[in-house]
Each structure stands twice: as C-alpha cells, then as structure tokens.
Subunit: 348 residues, 2 copies
C-alpha cells in the first residue's frame, strides 16, 4: 500500500458506530430529485413517477476480490462503486442511488476508512449517483464491502440478456483483457517486493493496464451514446467475468448461438506486449480475463449504419441459430467451441 | 448446531458459482406485480407506477452478528431477512423485494447453504417479498450475509424519524428485552456445553425468549393494523439496538425530548424471571438489550382513542420540548437521563 508519511491513527472505538457513520457520510450530497430521504433513517425513500427501478448488489471480500497489499483503499472504494454501476448500465439504465455496507476489523484506523470513503465519494460525484444508506459494522477478520445500486429506466427501455436474435451483431465497447494483465503485473511486483523491499520498479509502460485493474470505469458514456444514436441493443451484459463467460450468458438466455472472430477482438497494445512478455495467448486473456467492465451487446443488423465506424463500438461477431453452437473463428479460420472459463477459474 | 443425522456433504467446488446460484434460488417465486425481471440478469427491474420505493441494507458477519455454534443456519437466513424487512416496516412501507448476497468459506457444504436459503425462502414467503437478486462469493474466513430490502409506500405515507412533536405519545409494539435475554441463555448453555458436551439442558421455560433471539419476526402486522385503524405515526423506528438508543434517534432527529415511564415498559414474564435468575435489572435490559425488532413510534394525542386498549400497542411515555431532555421516570418517580447504550455496547 502507498506509504503514509503522517500516520495518524484514530481508533474506531473512539467514535462509536453512529458517530463513525455520521463522520464518514457527512460529505455525501443528495443531488437526485428522486431522492426524497437519504442517509439517516431506517431506509431511504425514493420517488420515480412513471420510471422503472433497477437494483444491483455486490459483495467484495478481502483476500478474494482484492489484495490490500497493492490496492490503495481509495481505489478500492472507487472500484466497488464502478462494479455495481456497471451492472446498472448493462440494463441500459441510468444509475441514480447506491447503498454501501462495510465491515472492518480494528486493524483499520479511521484514516483508512476515510480513504475508502473518499474513493466512494469520488465515484458518486463522477457518476452522479446519491449514496442513500448502508451499514457499517465490525469484522473479525478482513474487510468486506457490499454495494447495492439502483437505477431508473423508461418503461420498455431496459435491455435484458435474453433479447438477442440470430443475425444480430455482437458488439463490445472499448478494449478487453487489460484489467487481467494489469493484475498479473501487480502480482509479479508484489512477489518482487517480497524478495527485495527496496526495489523501485518502473511500471510506466504498464500504466494503462494497471489503471484498468485498479481504477476501472463503468460505461455510463455508452448508455448516453446509445440514446444519442438511437440504438436500443437487443441484449446486453457487462464484462465482469470475461468475454467467453458473458457471451455464453447472452446465448443461453437468448437461445441463440454465436460466431466470434478472433481478429476482431479489440486489444490495447499494452495487453498485446504484456501477453508476449508473460508468454500467454492474448486471445485467451481477452476471452477469459475479467474485470474490464466493458459492455457486450447485440445489435440488430438494421442498426449497423448507426454504429459503424464509432471508435467506442467494435463488431466482433454475430449471433446464429442456437443449434449452430457458440464458436470462436480463429485467424486461421478454424472454429473452436467457446467454453466458460471466467475470472474465478483463472485465479485458481 | 443441530445434529445432522444424514451428513451428506457436497463440496461447493463441484457446482461452480453459476450453478450454485441457480441451485440455491430455483425455489424463489416471483409474486409481486412490480417485479418485471428478477434473478438472472445484471440487475432487477421493478415498476411501481406512482408508488415510492424504499430500500434498506444490512451486512451480517459471523462472529459479530451471529455465532454458528448455537444458531441453526435456517434460523440465520430467516433472521437476516427479518432484520431488513423490519427497517422497511419502520418506514410505514410495504416490503416488496430483497436482494441477498452471501460469502462463504469452503468449510460450508452445499447442504449448509441450502439450510440458510431455506430460511430465506420461508421468510420471503411469509412476508410476501420477492428475492430479486444477489451475489454469492467465497470468503477467506467466516460467513457474511448482506441483505437489501425494497418496499413501496404511497406518496406522503412514509414515516420518518424526524416527525415527532412535543406531547405526542410514545408507543411501543409487543414486548421488549426478550431477544437479549434469549441470547444470555444461549451463551450460558454454550459454556455449559463446552464443559460437558453430554449435557441435555431443559430450556422449555425459556422457549419464548430463545425464539425472540433465534427467530424474531418483523412487525408487518402493525403496518397493516395502523392502516386499518387509520393512524399515521408522526415518527417511527424499529428497535434493533435497544429502546434507549432508538428513542434518542427519534428525539434528536425530531428535536424533542421524552419522558418514558418505567412501569409502562412491556416485559414478558420470561424476561422478568430470567433477569432475576441472572441478577440483572429488567429495565436496564429493556432499555439497552437489542434485536427485538419491535416498532417504536410517536402518535398524535388525538389518535389516542384509536390505539387505546389495543394489545399490540403500549403507550410508554410522551414527547416533550427539546430543552426538557430525555428521561426515564422510575417507579419511585425519579427522573434519570436516558443514555445511548445499544446492543453493541452491551456486548463489550
């Protein structure tokens, strides 16, 4: 973790639970018209008129989802928000509120929690969502973070995983595989640090992929873009576990097959040269590395002119009849079945 | 924990995350008209027309909120639901949906999780709420449960903590102190069991208070009752931390004082005799013992005829001007200041 030059430590016990919550949440501002009552009651009250509501929740556990030896707490707070907001955007919805629950052991001083909440507040401001409640409690061991996000969407505008049709185009936003390769760099540096704590590694050539791992962004901009160009995807999902795992979700729930073209998968140059450095196949990483939080969607062929040439959207394949199965078409024109092998499997 | 006569153990690793979720949630039925899309997408989609939404969330950590050595998992699942639904009812709202996230270590076999989810399903059915999503992940140490509940309420009907006025009556539902004394019995029996695992204690005289601890109920019935008798409380809160802690919340947020009459506090006979057995003052337990999940509300004096004589509602005091302070009026007519000393403090 980043060195603290002024290691002031206020024990949490000095504050008590209510004061702690008050202290940690005093900077959260309510900005949504739909937030009638935020933090400070048994529950939050929201009003959306004729809007629909979307809710998503995630639980992040130390040692499972993050390693505090290289994840700064501020980044962790930010990422916990992004992970959830990404799920809301994957519904074609506008994220509006979140609740945050945190369990911490006594080894965390107040300042550490402040860092964590600073990251949460930064994300709340950037994504324009209200933090409307939560729970803060103690933990006997590691840090636990639970986030629930709520969003709104006009009736009939929510995009599910189940709407893809044969011949729809498969479209991915941004580029993928970066977050996973960033994690490989961080884990390698952690091992180096264990052997030689004095080492000052030059990570400047990996900046992009490390940021993809430590400070990912949710694609709020894509939801706004889709509205501008008047495209409603037929199905959509966010890429948290990896492209193969997510496309299988779309296929199974939509009862379709898919052909993905290996040479179309968008990769950043840093992903390509880091894969070479680690002697891993970059397509494997694109398919199975997780945590990119890009969006994977299917779009009707007739919408192709609207998305064509947009630098944010890459067509990587198309949907087929279900009995055609799910395949990757390689550069050498071979067809390989797509198997689920998400982020968790890779970690084993 | 209750002995398992047929200890079949299916390792969680056999299923994988998606199959596990599918398996655990297959018995959840969607019953709410407002549930457009439940489990199975990135997020749930709800629609409430002109209704308002309420959301509440809680995080339960093994070793902090529960001790698996005497809490059966089914009861734990049930209680995790009740704790959250209670927050929704405390808003004068109707609970409609919940999300449940769980982190477990490998020491839990599938059957243990099934027990946990059976308790969740039982509560979902009894309280008529839909389980609309969640997250299941692994934990490096203990069991973690995070629940977010959502409810609906007509515009203008939500009851906050901040609406109490001087001269309003302070009303509590049911009786209090039972859950805390039930915990004392369970902890004593745990110690006895450590010394002599063969002991078969007779706990029949403590049935009510043990049930209050292990299987509390949320007061959905009270929200329905208030509607029937046409009473809208001026403020309301659920008693999770203890009467004194909750009444302080009402006073501070409403900017009023309070006089509570010791001889009016409703106690079950089992609480009284168990307090005698443990040589503890029962009023102290009523004020500071937590987890009863009764409702504490303030009601305008003009509504008194509507609540008078109702066995579910006990008037225990009245609100005063803020500068009069917060006091307990003892049986000997002394005035003692009320101090926050919630459930957590008692545990120290």
């Amino acid at each position: 973790m980043i060195e603290d030059k002024n290691p002031q430590r206020t024990p949490l016990s000095e504050l008590g639970e209510f004061k702690l919550i008050e202290h940690l949440t005093e900077n959260f501002k309510v900005t949504q018209k739909s937030t009638i009552k935020g933090i400070g009651d048994d529950a939050a009250v929201l009003s959306f008129g004729k809007k629909q509501i979307v809710v998503s929740t995630d639980l992040l556990i130390e040692g499972v989802h993050f390693d505090l030896s290289y994840v700064p707490l501020k980044h962790l707070g930010y990422k916990a928000m992004v992970v959830n907001l990404s799920d809301i955007y994957a519904m074609n919805a506008k994220a509006t509120q979140v609740t945050i629950s945190i369990a911490v052991s006594n080894r965390f001083p107040l300042e550490a929690l402040e860092e964590l909440y600073a990251g949460i507040a930064t994300a709340a401001q950037l994504y324009n969502v209200d933090v409307i409640g939560g729970d803060t409690t103690s933990s006997t061991s590691g840090l636990v973070i639970s986030v629930t996000a709520i969003g709104e969407v006009n009736e009939g505008e929510a995009v599910l995983r189940s709407g893809a049709k044969p011949n729809d185009l498969l479209v991915v936003t941004g580029d993928i595989g970066g977050a996973y390769m960033g994690l490989q760099i961080l884990e390698r540096e952690k091992e180096v640090f264990k052997v030689n704590p004095q080492s000052q590694p030059d990570l400047s050539m990996y900046t992009y992929i490390i940021e993809r791992q430590l400070k990912p962004e949710a694609r709020k901009d894509i939801i706004e873009l889709l509205q501008q160009i008047d495209v409603k995807p037929t199905s959509m999902i966010d890429i948290s576990d990896g492209l193969s795992s997510e496309v299988i979700h779309l296929c199974k729930q939509s009862k379709v097959g898919v052909d993905i073209f290996e040479n179309k998968i968008p990769l950043d140059p840093q992903v390509i040269f880091t894969c070479e450095e680690f002697n891993i196949d970059s397509t494997t990483i694109a398919l199975n590395g997780g945590e990119d939080y890009e969006l994977l969607m299917t779009v009707s062929q007739e919408d192709f002119p609207k998305i064509k040439g947009n630098p944010n959207l890459t067509v990587i394949g198309y949907m087929t009849d279900e009995d055609r199965g799910m395949h990757l078409v390689t550069r050498s024109d071979e067809k390989i079945p797509i198997i689920a092998k998400g982020w968790n499997a890779l970690k084993d």
